[in-house]
């Protein structure tokens, strides 16, 4: 039993710390991919200052960076394809923005060379050595030789533009107009510090030495946060939270082992008495108890660490499977040294510390107890059981739970700590819901958008795309912007948008009032999207002036939000495709969105792009979607993983604790059975004992856990988002239910053991 307890607590510590370690690693990978591997940037500093920063021994990599047309306006283009122009040092691609690596060719070495993003190959048919001309505003041009290709970035794909990467020298040599922003300052200087450097101190040093004000300094808060190096107040709150959770996990481990050792020693009083009888000194007994506890560690610690490590491997495998784009780099056989060290140290230290009191107690055992008849009997009761109100079996069960104050406190403490742990970790769910937004179900992977926001995307494309095996779902919308509208005597404009079946299904989830079906089926019904300025209410009528003809429509539903909302004029009016065509006439779509299957390849995307033809904009949001999904999945997996693990440990701990507690009374149960206690009565007695622990543990868990949850919630959520704390009733009900159900289920094993116990053997053993 004690071995099992040590295994459990070592497993708890190893798995939780290992999960935390893997979480930080996954966040680091994500951060590298989305924000880049830099720690600080300095704006508007001189080259001399930059050189001084670069000369510091604690700076590992650095690069200038500046960009023009990052918002992808069509005024900068190569052969009609929009471009964004960036200038940076070679280190930027190799060390800082590592997700955009050079895939072919070399970094511009001088002259009129440029690296283009990979999509230039497909969309412009360019090859290494080709010469291109970048058209810029006011008729300026920039001739460039293609010297290399680099990975696409999520932003470039989303806005369907090509990245033109120049060296810093080249970029600065271009005579940019003031309005373009690049001429006004030398750009941003990105710095990556060496590992184990105190980054906040280094940044403060640089600022004070070079007189750089705070406003000119930026930090990669997310990366610094996961490195434990952030000075951001939010991050400091998160560190405090992590500290509290760390202490709680340690306490839970210590409590489990202490409770187990305590009851183990209590059950073997006669053995220790016998040792004293044959001449063992109290010191020798103490040493024996300690050595025995340490000998359990030989087996229990490797086992606990082993299971913890395997659990982490499983988790990493799940993470890789869920989001291969992000977590393909997570190791298959991940070894988290801090978690293993924590497991071993906690196991050993806790066993040694927890063994102190029982060892002293064992040493105090009188040699006489070995020869007296009551050697293994529990400590004498202090008062008689009150069996007047309760049945004697129930009263005895409760009394057994409370017979030893220390044992009761340890048992209740370990039950309560499970609840406290669960409640504390459940605060992370609220944090996750705020910090990481899951992808909207309507978010497309690809969009074909009318270049001039008219209905120029041909309607037949929707059917063709629907038959494409790489497309999981396709849905189109027609837009009519600024349609003159009159409602309640008020004249203005509204945007009319058509939805098809999938979009109406998503709209149902955002319905505040009214009916979606009525709009979907009707010919004169519209939905509207809530905004404080929107005058439309459910039941209102609105008269639209469509191509000179007046049409009156009923507002049949109000949506809280729409992913396609424009919010112009009065607001949006959403109708069915039939209604839209009746009002605005036949025509194509303004936007066709697609969600791809998991098996869709880049070649499929190129085929779809080719299918879309000319005169449309093509938006590829796969990389951005993968970022959002990856972030959410990683966070959710770890948060729910923590909770599941705590719940599992709670279940195991309760089963084990009850089994140990029952073992302590086994002799007495034998005698009770001899004088006529039935099997059901035994079950009732053990159940009453379990219930006493469960009720007291749950009450103590709530008393301690709720304020702690509040503290953590306020640190993590209220501090940043201002949400007031609310009691986590769902999590509380769940963990209390787990404790209650497990306690009652855990009775079955010990009760069966008691029933199977030979009464004659028990009696004669006395």
């Amino acid at each position: 039993m004690s071995v099992f307890c040590i295994v459990l607590s070592v497993l708890l510590v190893t798995a939780i710390f290992g999960m935390a370690d893997m979480f930080l690693r996954s966040q680091k990978i994500q951060s590298y991919k989305t924000d880049g591997n830099w720690h600080a940037n300095f704006q508007n500093i001189s080259d001399t200052d930059a050189a001084m920063i670069a000369a510091r021994p604690d700076v590992a990599a650095m690069s200038w960076y500046d960009a023009v047309n990052y918002k992808a306006e069509p005024t900068y283009s190569i052969n009609g394809k929009t471009v964004a122009i960036c200038g940076f040092d070679e280190d930027f691609l190799s060390d800082i923005y590592i997700d955009t690596a050079l895939t072919e060719g070399h970094f511009p070495t001088g002259g009129q060379e440029a690296v283009l993003t990979q999509n230039a190959k497909e969309t412009l048919g360019l090859r290494l050595g080709d010469t291109v001309t970048v058209n810029m505003p006011e008729g300026r041009t920039l001739p460039l030789a293609v010297c290399g290709f680099a990975d696409n970035t999520a932003m470039m794909l989303r806005y369907d533009c090509v990245g033109v990467f120049l060296s810093t020298g080249q970029f600065r040599a271009i005579p940019w107009a003031d309005a373009e922003g690049a001429a006004a300052n030398p750009g941003m200087y990105y710095v990556q510090f060496t590992p184990y450097c105190n980054i906040q101190k280094a940044i403060a040093d640089i600022q004070s030495q070079l007189q750089i004000p705070d406003a000119q300094v930026g930090q990669n808060v997310r990366l610094l946060g996961v490195m434990g190096q952030s000075g951001d107040p939010m991050m400091l709150c998160l560190y405090a939270t992590a500290g509290v959770l760390f202490v709680l996990v340690l306490l839970a481990g210590i409590m489990m082992i202490a409770s187990s050792l305590n009851s183990n020693v209590a059950q073997r009083t006669q053995f220790f008495g016998m040792l004293r009888c044959i001449g063992a000194t109290p010191k020798q007994v103490i040493r024996l108890v300690r050595c025995e506890a340490l000998s359990w560690c030989q087996f229990a610690i490797p086992l606990g660490v082993g299971i913890g490590v395997v659990l982490i491997w499983v988790l990493c495998a799940v993470l890789r499977a869920l989001s291969p784009y992000f977590f393909a780099e997570m190791p298959v056989i991940a070894v988290s040294v801090p978690s293993i060290a924590a497991g071993v140290v906690v196991g050993l230290l806790t066993v040694l510390l927890a063994a102190r009191a029982p060892a002293r107690r064992a040493a105090r055992v009188s040699p006489l107890t070995a020869v007296s008849g009551n050697a293994d009997a529990a400590a004498p009761a202090r008062h008689a059981v009150g069996a007047k109100r309760l049945h004697v079996d129930t009263a005895l069960g409760i009394h057994h739970a409370m017979a030893s104050r220390k044992n009761f406190a340890l048992m209740v403490g370990s039950f309560a700590l499970s609840i406290v742990l669960f409640l504390s970790f459940s605060a992370l769910i609220s944090f996750m819901d705020h910090a990481v937004t899951p992808l909207n179900p309507a978010t497309p992977d690809l969009s074909i958008i009318s270049a001039d926001n008219t209905r120029s995307v041909r309607g037949g494309l929707l059917e063709t795309l629907g038959e494409n095996p790489a497309v999981a779902r396709v849905y189109g919308r027609m837009f009519a912007f600024d349609v003159p509208a009159v409602t309640g005597g008020q004249a203005g404009t509204a945007d009319l948008i058509s939805y098809d079946a999938p979009q109406f299904r998503w709209a149902e989830k955002a319905l505040l009032e009214g009916s979606v079906q009525e709009t979907e089926r009707g010919t004169d019904a519209v939905l509207t999207v809530y905004s404080p300025e929107n005058p439309f209410r459910v039941g209102d009528t609105v008269t639209l002036d469509c191509n000179g003809a007046s049409h009156t429509l009923r507002v049949t539903g109000m949506l809280s939000d729409s992913p396609f909302s424009s919010g112009n004029g009065f607001g949006d009016l959403i109708c069915s495709e039939g209604t839209f065509r009746r009002l605005m006439g036949d025509g194509g779509y303004t936007v066709i969105d697609m969600q791809l299957t998991g098996r869709a390849t880049d070649a499929d995307v190129q085929a779809i792009r080719a299918l879309a033809g000319e005169g449309v904009r093509f938006s590829d949001r796969r990389a951005g979607n993968a970022e959002a999904t990856g972030a959410y999945l990683a966070f959710a997996l770890f948060v729910y993983g923590f909770l599941a693990l705590i719940a599992l440990i709670t279940v195991c701990n309760i089963i084990n604790s009850l089994a140990m507690s029952v073992s302590a009374w086994m002799r007495q149960y034998g005698a009770m059975r001899a004088v006529g206690m039935g099997g059901h009565q035994l079950v009732r007695m053990v159940t009453a004992e379990a219930a006493a622990y469960a009720v007291a543990g749950s009450v103590a868990g709530c008393i301690l856990g709720l304020p702690l949850h509040r503290f953590l919630f306020e640190k993590m959520v209220s501090f940043r988002w201002g949400d007031p704390w609310q009691a986590p009733l769902g999590a509380l009900a769940l963990i209390v239910a787990i404790v209650a159900v497990t306690s009652f289920a855990a009775v079955r094993g010990p009760a069966k053991r008691i029933r199977e116990l030979s009464i004659a053997d028990t009696i004669s053993a006395e």
């Binding site: 004498p380 059981v385 005895l396 009770m672 004088v675 009464i759 009696i763």
Partner: protein
């Protein structure tokens, strides 16, 4: 009137070379109010006999009939309730419930029956045992002799058909042993209680109506001691 009927009781432990025949074809009958002692050396099988008669241990073969009812034809739960109501036990190591006071320990079989203890009966037993002034004491606050008296009280409480006493004086000094024996004899005489006592003390057996001896699992009747 015949209360206990034991027929060809056999009990075997182990198999092969470790096989031990603890009881061999033991047959025995006890009349109502009879106080019998079973004597024998350590390991002779006397405790096994008592455990089988009390339904605490399952015999390999044979029957135990108490007031005509076959103990081992009953299901476990049924036998437990039957034992609670019809058989009283007195053990060498008392086996009192440490968390119950004297009065609750005496009334324990009734409490297990979820009955309100018959206060008159409790008073009567306490008086017979001389424990009236100790009724609120816990077992840990009593001497060994007093604890054994409580155990006897618990055995008497339900007015069982049979009391089985296994070395009831084994843990007591000579004065307390005498007191306990007097109590058992008194119970036999005053309440017409049938008692089967195991002892290895031949002197104690002299106080009984009948003495039986177990030798290597075989029971022999040594006949009446006292008329």
């Amino acid at each position: 009137m015949e209360i206990l009927q034991v027929e060809k009781l056999c009990k075997t432990y182990g198999q092969g070379e470790t096989r031990v025949e603890a009881l061999r074809d033991v047959s025995l009958r006890l009349e109502k109010g009879e106080f019998a002692a079973v004597i024998g050396e350590s390991g002779s099988g006397k405790s096994t006999l008592l455990n089988c008669i009390g339904g605490l241990d399952q015999p390999t073969s044979g029957r135990v009939l108490l007031d005509g009812q076959d103990l081992f034809a009953m299901k476990e739960q049924e036998r437990t309730v039957f034992r609670r109501r019809n058989i009283g036990f007195v053990f060498q190591s008392f086996q009192l419930v440490g968390e119950l006071d004297v009065e609750q320990n005496i009334a324990f079989p009734m409490l297990l029956d979820y009955q309100r203890p018959d206060q008159k009966r409790v008073e009567e037993v306490l008086q017979v045992l001389g424990l009236s002034d100790r009724r609120r004491h816990l077992p840990s606050q009593l001497s060994g002799g007093q604890q054994q008296r409580v155990a006897i009280g618990r055995a008497l409480m339900m007015k069982p058909m049979l009391i089985l006493a296994d070395e009831p004086t084994g843990n007591l000094d000579s004065k307390n042993s005498r007191d306990v024996m007097e109590l058992l004899v008194q119970a036999s005489r005053r309440f017409q209680q049938t008692i089967l006592m195991i002892t290895h003390n031949v002197n104690l057996a002299a106080a009984c109506d009948r003495v039986l001896r177990v030798t290597d699992g075989v029971l022999s009747d040594l006949g009446g001691v006292r008329e």
